[in-house]
């Protein structure tokens, strides 16, 4: 039981730290990295439940969910990075709110 508690607490901490990082950083790349930390937290919570079933064999359903989640997260991250790169090319800034000094094309 204690293993579950430790990893579930780590999971919620990761989620909260990722949420804070997502909110605090104006830079796009830092926001996307924080989102991946949030995803790591959510997956860790699911797998700590899977381990908790006590039976030596770990519950396969959360594992399948996390596998699907990993592939979904990597494709969403790749799409977001491509958008961020395109914004940088267009506006010379990789920020969501453009500082006045930029050259708005």
């Amino acid at each position: 039981m204690t293993t579950v508690i430790i990893y579930a607490l780590t999971a919620t901490t990761l989620f909260s730290v990722g949420l804070y990082g997502f909110a605090i950083h104006p830079d796009l790349i830092r926001k996307i990295v924080s989102l991946n930390i949030m995803a790591g937290g959510a997956f860790l919570f699911l797998i700590s439940l899977a381990y908790h079933t006590g039976s030596p064999e770990v519950d396969p359903v959360p594992q399948a969910m996390v596998l699907t989640g990993i592939v979904v997260t990597i494709s969403a991250t790749a799409f977001a990075l491509c958008l961020a790169r395109r914004i940088k090319e267009k506006t010379g800034q990789c920020l969501l709110e453009h500082r006045r000094k930029d050259t708005e094309t």
Binding site: K88, E89, K90, T91, G92, T105
Partner: protein
């Protein structure tokens, strides 16, 4: 016996944490890549020890993968500093 391997794995994880100090302080990016490379190898060793300690033989595949893929990150690092991808900076007016 398994406890010994688990203790060794723990020792290596502490090594990684100690190495993190270099990542935080590292004056230039190359130092950080050196640290990342060391963490990759230490990770491989930890996974192998864990595979033995927790009696799950398929973790060795994960260790094998780690050994292979750390090189890719270094290649990406080299690619991005010696030859910048052909980005037309602000003159892009699509």
């Amino acid at each position: 016996m398994n406890n010994f391997f688990l203790a060794m794995a723990l020792f290596l994880v502490l090594n990684i944490l100690a190495g993190l100090w270099r990542v935080l302080k590292g004056p230039n990016p190359a130092d950080r890549m050196v640290a990342a490379q060391l963490f990759g190898t230490t990770g491989v060793a930890t996974l192998l020890l864990l595979a033995q300690a927790l009696e799950s033989p398929f973790i060795r595949n994960a260790a094998l993968l780690f050994a292979l893929l750390t090189v890719m990150t270094v290649l990406a690092f080299i690619r991005n500093t010696s030859y910048r991808l052909p980005e037309d900076e602000h003159n892009e007016n699509l």
